[in-house]
């Protein structure tokens, strides 16, 4: 081809497409586009609980006699029932886990339902019963709620919002701002099960081994960790955007670098295989029952042992460390010594062609 086109430095952007004029799916994808929505719309309108402090899964409010954590989450999953869980179980555990990530013991939840005209009541009953079982399991009560019905075609069967409050113990201070260079990074289990389980039923991929979502309460695990040693620096449950999104946010919020050893990151073969096949990176795939913990390096081994003894942790592992260098970024070291950057994606991962 002619080099006239390549050598001129008079570059002007031919397609201005910087700003989306309407909401795109990527606005809910847990990546960079969603972060800009939060930073560009919600934070300016509502302000931050602790100005200058990096965002976290739940807000912690000082009240007379103690500290209260509060959070909310909305669930729009399709299909409503999937291997290892359903929208009701997710709605309870999602909010319980967000409270736990602030070091809070969950006390009570609210449940708001948006129901689509025509939803079988039997489906609703199954979901509600699943919510009650999940609440019992997590030791939390659903104490208030709300119901709205929308015209057929204006909802996807059922949407659920839950909000929750929890009590934060006296010596507990869990926040991205406490993450220090030298801290060890641990995960409580293998990655990517939820995302691949949902994708395989939603898209009818028909993998040979049925994979179950990791959907689970993390409140018990966090309570055990904090009972043993309250000096946990930061916790984050891994949801949309996976381990990668959680670590990018923390590296950015805490102004530190994070280095991972690829070989130590637990991923079970069916998830690794599905990701290879679809061209997805398991570090970006969603989880619903896994957390990442930042603890002082001298506490790492003991934290790992506590996790190993707890039923909510499956193949926990020490996967990396916090560094002073390359602040704000996450790097992975491959087993043969090369490094690569883990960056926040724009929206969701797209399966590749071949």
């Amino acid at each position: 081809m002619s080099d006239e086109r390549t050598e001129g430095m008079h570059w002007t952007c031919p397609v201005p497409r910087d700003v989306h004029a309407t909401v795109q799916m990527a606005h809910g994808g847990g990546g960079r586009v969603m972060r800009r929505l939060i930073e560009g719309f919600f934070l300016p309108a509502f302000g931050a609980t602790e100005p200058g402090s990096p965002p976290h899964d739940a807000a912690v409010l000082e009240v007379p006699g103690g500290r209260l954590a509060m959070t909310t989450d909305t669930f729009v999953v399709s299909p409503l029932f999937f291997p290892g869980g359903d929208i009701g179980k997710l709605a309870v555990y999602g909010t319980v886990n967000d409270l736990a990530m602030a070091g809070a013991k969950p006390l009570a939840l609210s449940a708001g339902f948006i129901l689509e005209e025509g939803l079988p009541l039997e489906t609703l009953r199954r979901i509600v019963e699943s919510m009650r079982r999940a609440a019992d399991e997590a030791g939390v009560k659903i104490v208030t709620g709300d119901t709205k019905v929308v015209d057929r075609g204006k909802g996807d069967g059922i949407f659920i919002n839950t909000a929750g409050i929890g009590l934060v113990g006296p010596n507990v201070d869990i926040s991205p701002r406490r993450v220090r260079p030298g801290d060890a990074v641990l995960v409580s289990g293998d990655l990517g099960r939820h995302g691949i389980a949902i994708m395989s039923v939603r898209e009818g991929l028909g993998f040979e081994a049925e994979l179950e979502s990791d959907c689970a309460s993390l409140a018990g695990l966090v309570e055990t960790l904090l009972d043993a040693d309250p000096d946990v620096h930061c916790l984050r449950d891994l949801t949309r955007g996976g381990l990668a999104a959680a670590l990018c946010e923390i590296a950015d919020g805490a102004g530190v670098g994070i280095e991972l050893d690829e070989a130590s990151i637990p991923i079970i073969p069916p998830v690794a295989g599905a990701c290879e096949l679809l061209g997805l990176d398991p570090l970006y795939v969603a989880n619903e029952g896994r957390l990442v913990a930042f603890v002082p390096v001298e506490a790492a081994q003991r934290t790992l042992e506590i996790m190993q003894a707890h039923p909510a942790a499956v193949q926990p592992a020490i996967i990396g460390r916090v560094t002073e260098t390359h602040a704000g970024t996450v790097q992975v070291r491959t087993s043969f010594g090369a490094e690569r950057i883990i960056d926040l994606l724009s929206g969701e991962q797209m399966p590749r062609i071949c």
């Binding site: 086109r5 700003v19 690569r340 950057i341 062609i353």
Partner: protein
Amino acid sequence: MKYVDEYRNAEQVKQLAAMIRRQTTRPWNLMEVCGGQTNAIIRFGLDRLLPPEIRLIHGPGCPVCVTPIEMIDQAVAIASLSEVIFCSFGDMLRVPGSEKDLLTVKSEGADVRIVYSPMDAVALATANPDRDVVFFAIGFETTAPAVAMAIAQADRLGLDNFSALVSHVLVPPAICAVLDSPDNIVQGFLAAGHVCAVMGTWQYEPIARQYGVPIVVTGFEPLDILQGVALCIDQLENGRGEVAIQYTRCVQPEGNSVALAQIDKVFRTVPRKWRGIGEIPESGWALRHDFSRFDAAARFGVEGIRADEPAICLAGAVLQGHKRPFECPAFGRECTPETPVGAPMVSSEGACSAYYRYRLHELKQADGKQDSREGEP
């Protein structure tokens, strides 16, 4: 994981890299043809294990990257019709057309769906007899057998609400186009393993002979790629230019006869326009006349839609190895995975996207550039 871990063995990777360093006595430029190989090279940092004499040039083998902008415009025009369910592989949805990409059309109300196989689109057509189901058939020889099978299946089922927007491209003519370029610096090729699993290697023999270049059919894992490099360098250092197969666990010289028969039944060879490169003769497949009723471009009258790439996008130069992604002034500034100007920034197999994802931080450090992302609204 079986069939993957053994090809990522750290000790063997290091040994192979050391062997390549020993066998290399002077500078060589190799092109890995396939985007899957580009991604693996950058993701695993394989280029950094090689001696400085060896330069890896990223080739045109990313289907998303080489699909011309006018095909995206045709896809957008068809997808916008209310009677249409438009089915595509996932990574095509964010490739910018002249005005819109398919995701934008979807947010405007079009029924655009990600499918994993062309057969899923046939199933959708069967299940939705009152809708027109269109499959966006792009890709190299790898995806073509499944598309051919879907078309043949739709034919057998007598479906009149299924069609395909076909933009298949072929590797051998692209290799010739690279070699024929007056600026060509490529001295040896790592050919695309999966393409050759379908097609075999017979098409590459005359190219290796005519141009005297080594063409090593190579896989996608770290050990595959380094072994492909070693085989290529061995030929170059010894003055040979032949076809060799590194990816023997998948590739037979004669190819997959069932797939080839299916392709031959449904497709004919045509000239095809490539993004940033222009038209290459005999470089694509279109439907044979017996199957022309499944041609979506004709059915929806979008054949006349023509468009040129943003004149300034360096995609063509990047896809032919004349420029590296970070040598483009738009890289990481106007052009990011979120706001792609050219297709190589979209697909995980695109060279620009691979550099952005895995190397942006150090590239920024190297030249002290401001990260444009921080300045965006």
